[in-house]
Amino acid sequence: MTTITSAELQEVLPALNRFALKLTRNADRADDLVQDCVERALNKAHLFDGQNLRSWMFTICRRVFLNQIRKEKSRGTQVDIENTPESKFSAKALQEDKMHFQDVVENFSKLPLNDKVILSLVVIEGLKYDEAAAVLEIPVGTVRSRLSRARAKLVELMEDEGVEEGTSLAAVV
């Protein structure tokens, strides 16, 4: 059985903290997320393959965060930017979030219809790539490329500058 030592955990924590902070954009939430990750990692240590603790912890962090988002959505308790107390979300983070989401709304409308449709089907409605391919009657690979182009275009519009795309990001790991 694989064991995780305290020293190994300590080594991973700074990177995990940064990752959690970038996901949540709030120090308190990031602390809670890291705490949940560490608890889960220790409880599930027997599932760790002993190879790359950092990568495994990132996986846990991403899953815990996604679960939190899904629970918030299914309970209908999405973050209310206007009314959430500052003790939970800092004013600066709220303002940044609000501006970010306004940017999403504003720039989404500038996309061509085809881009809006693929983003709506997969990102908003939650169709799997193969399901979107079936209704659009196109190959899954086309969904994959069309979606990445559409979302990259949206992010590019929001950044108002060029973004790395395609082979420029390619690397072998």
Binding site: K116, L127, A170
Partner: protein, 96 residues
């Protein structure tokens, strides 16, 4: 045991955000992200963009042309014997 090598491209990052990767490829992307700060930032930006798209769903469908087309395609999806997509369920639940 030697791990297989994967070529990670922009599309893999998007598929990772959408939860569409096989387990080995997902791990490869996570290894890739863990070692590259800038790409991690990009992944988070894409992820936050997804959250923005979820949050303002109704606003996007004020575009009648888009709404009509998406409804047509979702109807086609259901007529093929599929369950309504996950997020549609969530929205219906929230409305109830």
């Amino acid at each position: 045991m030697t791990q297989p090598h994967y070529l990670i491209r922009e599309q893999d990052l998007h598929a990772y955000i959408d939860g569409e990767l096989s387990k080995p490829r997902r791990r490869a992307v996570e290894r890739f992200l863990a070692d590259r700060h800038l790409t991690l930032e990009r992944a988070i930006e894409l992820f936050r963009t997804n959250l923005g798209l979820h949050r303002y769903r109704e606003k996007f469908y004020e575009d009648q042309e888009l709404k009509t087309e998406v409804e047509r395609l979702l109807k086609k999806h259901r007529c093929a014997g599929n369950e309504p997509p996950h997020f549609e369920n969530v929205m219906m639940h929230n409305r109830g």
